[in-house]
């Protein structure tokens, strides 16, 4: 026997369990060991979509339209595939900008407009109230039915009619209390309710199990499986149409619109937004949800048709098909199953009501009440130290208020509509959010005015074509309003607007309302102009994946405010402790130990606004922050300037980077050049110093002997002669030195004049030998040339300079040879490309280590006291430069004690190609 108190006990016990789950969830969340941080809980909580509409209504719908209950589930199933793109973007945006409701979302996108937020809130509340009333109706109905167990009595025919109504009132109050407990125990900037989500996931499991149990009971307990039911139903002519899709165009239209409607609703329903977006912990959870959620929908729909057909066959027309889930087990005296079905329905209803009213209360509080209160100067809210209690109070009142509205709607229109029909009215209302919402994701061009116009237009059409007719059907308006149109104007008949017929009322409403909505949104947007705020927000929304939100956002805030200004402000809304905590956490994230270290920059302002946005909504938050930072909203020009500036700065920094790289390169080149210059300078300094030394040495002798001769006229004649000869020799040496220094300088600087001609090297050698013959004779050194009569190719060279080289080599040879024993030989050689001249002596030779040194300037190797006039130390360096100028090479080969051979080469002119031509002809 199911007495009223037993049912109440079961109901409270169930709600108690639910609350325990929620409490546990909250505790775990506080301990930072969240139980909802996994994709399965997320997917299950999304099943809050399945309310009593699904639990009871689907069967009712199926009993009248067959598979007509399906579009409502096909829509979300189809959209689930797109969640990864659209829903993830919504989540990303909402997390980035602390968006806590759909009103906040839409208002944020269109320039953080309070007006828009308010409008969305009003539409949401008005639109959703019927939906809540249907939950009240279903639950209170199920209570009434169950309390009449084992008799199956419809609530409308129940003896205690007033009691049923009172049940709904008590239920509404109880749900309000429960929701307040769930949702408004404290205030959180993120508006997340972990415990609630856990409870919702739990209730989703319960309602699914309950429905499956009832379905299995009907299918396998009452009948013998699916085949049995469908076979029996097939025999009833009245049931046959339910198993096929009526082949009319209107029906397909209806299917199409219902699918579209449910596709939009899964995004736009406040409770779906709350669960899918606000309560989302990790956007990766969407991946699993995209198949888990459709799977859930499939499971909960498997038994809909069997139950509907079974109910129709068992009861006939006397029993409301919306109650089959409950009444079928009752008719078969299955108390436990009936009770479980009741719990399932209760579960579905409470889940929906809790989430929906929490979502709506947040919106009402943040976007409707607070903006008004904050503007109400005489309330002096700005001066109140802690507004968090006020915020909670407003939300609690809003929850109660919304449930009361649901109750009133239930009383007024309760019996006129089936569950699903009531639900669809709500769907059509919230579907009006979709254009502005999706527009905000993908269209930069939408304007605030466009969004207001679209929403208002769509909502007005919805009210006219769906809400007012529902009033008419409930008797609040004359029936003729529907049948003849207002004032008898048939074109304005609300359900056949402008003569559009052949559609069911939902399709009809959706067609006109979305047409008006999208048309106005696009039209007004294109005609109007975005202000700076809207442009800013549009960019932030559309490009959310491409941005690092925190940084970009702060870039737009040009003002600054100190912690001393911001902390009390946030504290007023979040409570001083909570605010202080979050500021501290922010400081720590930035690597600072205390609040005093926080700099008053744009980031801090943005952070504060984010915090506040969570509590009172983005639009109000901006107003509140602006009141502290004394900053005017930037005008379009300023934003353009900022953007311009930003891109310029970027370009400039790129240039700067480039330039600094170039500069670095230039610096290192300069450093190398400077080093080379310093080296050159040092070498030049050394050179000058050496030249000076070399000049001073003969000068010293000249001066000394001159003074001796001058001071002492009595000097003996041989001495006098000797001294004078020395003076002459040293003077010659000096002259030679000066000439050679100058010549070397000319050759090195490239300013020497060259008179190149074609010449026979043998001639030059002969001439050089002739020139130095006196030297050789004096030293009694033999000179031999090992060539005669050979015809040599002519070479290109400067005759005088070539001779200078040869004379230098010959004089050096004479100088190193011992007089009387010396022998110098000149040889000629010829190779493919070069002519080679060797000057060989039989002097002391040069150590291998000194072979290159003899070619250095002023470097003289070997015994210096030979009694011979010394060289200048420049002969060989100059000779080498001359030969190199001709394209040849000058070097020495020698061993100590073996004499030395100085050799040089001169390039031969390229041989003519005659030989090649001959070969070619022979081959040809």
């Amino acid at each position: 026997m199911l007495q009223g108190w037993v049912i109440l006990l079961v109901a409270f016990a169930y709600l108690g369990v639910l609350f325990a789950v929620a409490y546990y969830g909250d505790k775990r969340a506080e301990a930072r060991r969240s139980i909802i941080a996994n994709p399965y809980i997320y997917a299950l909580s999304l099943a809050v979509y399945c309310s009593t509409w699904t639990f009871y209504g689907s069967v009712g719908r199926a009993a009248s339209t067959g598979i007509g209950f399906l579009p409502i589930y096909l829509g979300p199933t189809l959209t689930a595939a797109l969640w990864w793109f659209a829903m993830r973007k919504i989540i990303r945006i909402s997390k980035a900008y602390r968006i806590t409701s759909i009103a906040d979302f839409i208002a944020n996108r269109y320039g953080k407009s309070q007006l828009l937020a308010g409008l969305v809130t009003v539409i949401a509340v008005l639109g959703v109230v019927p939906y809540i009333s249907l939950q009240l109706k279903a639950i209170s109905g199920s209570f009434t039915i169950l309390s009449n167990y084992p008799n199956v009595v419809m609530p409308s025919q129940a003896v205690a009619q007033s009691f049923a109504n009172n049940t709904a009132l008590y239920l509404a109050l109880m749900l309000a209390a429960f929701t307040i407990l769930f949702g408004t125990r404290h205030l959180d900037a993120t508006e997340r309710h972990e415990g609630m989500v856990a409870a919702i996931a739990f209730e989703s499991v319960v309602k699914l199990l309950a429905f499956l149990v009832v379905g299995a009971f009907v299918t396998f307990g009452v009948y013998r499986g699916f085949g049995d039911i469908f076979r029996l139903a097939q025999q009833e002519p009245s049931l046959r149409p339910l198993m096929t899709v009526p082949d009319t165009s209107g029906n397909y239209t209806s299917w199409g619109f219902l699918i579209l409607l449910s596709m939009l609703s899964i995004f736009a329903l406040p409770r779906q937004f709350q669960i899918a977006v606000v309560e989302n912990v990790d956007e990766d959870h969407l991946r699993k949800a995209t198949w888990l959620f459709p799977l859930y929908l499939l499971l909960i729909n498997v038994f809909v048709l069997p139950i509907a057909l079974g109910g129709l066959m068992v009861f006939g027309p006397g029993v409301d098909a919306d109650t089959f889930v409950l009444t079928l087990p009752m008719a078969h005296q299955k108390e436990a199953i009936a009770a479980f079905a009741f719990v399932g329905g209760l579960s579905a209803g409470t889940g929906m009501v809790i989430v929906e009213t929490i979502a709506l209360s947040t919106m009402v509080c943040n976007d409707l009440v607070m903006p008004v209160l904050l503007r109400w100067k005489s309330l002096r809210l700005n001066e109140r130290a802690d507004l968090s209690r006020l915020l909670l109070l407003i939300r609690r009142c809003a929850i109660t208020g919304i449930l009361m509205l649901g109750y009133i709607h239930f009383r007024a229109a309760g019996e006129a509509y089936a569950l699903v029909a009531t639900g669809l009215i709500s769907f059509a209302a919230v579907a009006q959010f979709a254009p502005a919402m999706f527009g905000s994701l993908y269209w930069r061009g939408g304007t605030h005015a466009g969004a207001i116009a679209g929403l208002s237009g769509g909502f007005a059409v919805w009210a006219y074509t769906l809400l007012l007719p529902s009033f008419a059907k409930s008797g609040w308006l004359p029936e003729t309003f529907i049948t003849a149109g207002p004032l008898g104007i048939s074109l304005l008949k609300p359900q056949e607007l402008f003569g559009l017929t052949g559609m069911d009322e939902i399709s009809h409403c959706l067609f006109w309302s979305l047409l008006a909505n999208v048309g106005l949104l696009v039209g007004v947007s294109l005609l109007g102009r975005q202000n700076a705020n809207e442009t800013e927000q549009a960019t932030l929304f559309v490009d959310v994946f491409r941005r690092t939100p925190a940084l970009e956002r702060s870039a737009f805030w040009r003002a600054s405010a100190s912690v001393a200004d911001l902390l009390p402000l946030i504290g007023r809304f979040l409570g001083p402790d909570r605010a202080r905590e979050s500021f501290l956490a922010y400081a720590r994230r930035r690597g600072m130990a205390s609040l005093d270290d926080l700099s008053a920059d744009r980031d801090l302002v943005a952070f504060a606004e984010n915090q506040l946005a969570g509590a009172i909504g983005g639009a109000s938050a901006r107003v509140m922050i602006a009141s502290v930072v004394q900053q005017q909203a930037p005008g379009i020009d300023e934003v353009m300037n900022i953007l311009d500036e930003a891109s310029q700065v970027r370009a400039y920094s790129r240039q700067l980077e480039q330039k600094s790289k170039q500069l670095e390169e230039a610096t290192s080149e300069l450093r190398a050049a400077n080093k080379a210059l310093q080296e050159l300078d040092r070498m030049k300094d050394d050179f000058v110093s050496t030249v000076t030394h070399e000049l001073r040495t003969p000068l010293t002798s000249i001066r000394a002997f001159s003074e001796i001769l001058l001071d002492d006229p009595e000097i003996r004649l041989p001495d006098r002669k000797r001294f004078l000869a020395t003076i002459v020799k040293e003077t010659q040496r000096l002259t030679r030195l000066i000439n050679q220094v100058l010549e070397l300088a000319k050759i090195e600087s490239g300013s020497a004049e060259w008179h190149t001609t074609e010449l026979d090297v043998k001639d030059v050698i002969r001439e050089s030998v002739e020139t130095t013959s006196q030297l050789f004779r004096e030293s009694r050194i033999g000179i031999f040339t090992a060539f005669d009569g050979e015809v040599l190719p002519r070479v290109t060279a400067d005759r005088d300079r070539l001779m200078q080289v040869l004379i230098n080599l010959l004089s050096n040879a004479v100088n190193v040879c011992r007089p009387g024993e010396g022998r110098v030989e000149i040889r000629l050689g010829i190779s493919r490309n070069f002519l080679r001249v060797d000057v060989r002596d039989n002097g002391p030779g040069i150590a291998a280590g000194d072979h290159e040194k003899v070619f250095e300037k002023f470097r003289q190797v070997g015994d210096t006291l030979t009694g011979k006039p010394r060289g200048t130390g420049l002969g060989l360096p100059i000779s080498r430069r001359i030969i190199e100028h001709f394209g040849g090479r000058l070097w020495v080969e020698s061993d100590l004690g073996e004499g030395a051979t100085f050799s040089f080469t001169l390039p031969l002119p390229r041989p003519p190609a005659d030989s090649d031509v001959t070969v070619a002809q022979a081959a040809g």
Binding site: S689, H693, T700, A704, F723, T726
Partner: protein, 121 residues
């Protein structure tokens, strides 16, 4: 008298002129043509004054001077450095090496003789 002077230079004509000048003043003259020979002659011949060139084969004048100053037998000897190197740094280095006088080539024979006379007192 019989004061002894050691000439260390590798330039024969300069040696000749210095030898003539010093002998004319009545000094005994010894000659060395490179640094090592100069060092040896200074140790062996116990000269009163050394005319020391800097750019010498085998061991340069600075080093010869430093070594002489480090040798107790030669501590009293007067050293006159003769150099064709005119840079200030060279002068400074010569004085640091312990020379009594630093004379730049070409020099005035009269002045040089006068200074040598003065130094030998």
């Amino acid at each position: 008298m019989g004061k002894r002077i050691l000439i260390v230079d590798d330039e024969p004509n300069i040696v000749t002129s210095l030898e003539y000048l010093m002998k004319r003043e009545g000094y005994e003259v010894q000659i060395a043509v490179d640094g090592e020979a100069g060092l040896k002659a200074a140790a062996g011949g116990a000269p009163d004054l050394i005319l020391l060139d800097i750019m010498l084969p085998k061991m340069n004048g600075f080093e010869v001077c430093e070594r002489l100053r480090g040798d107790p037998r030669c501590r009293g000897v007067k050293i006159v450095m003769l150099t064709a190197k005119g840079r200030q740094a060279d002068t400074a280095r010569g004085m640091a090496a312990g020379a009594d006088l630093y004379v730049t080539k070409p020099f005035s024979t009269r002045e040089l003789v006068a200074q040598v006379k003065q130094m030998l007192g």
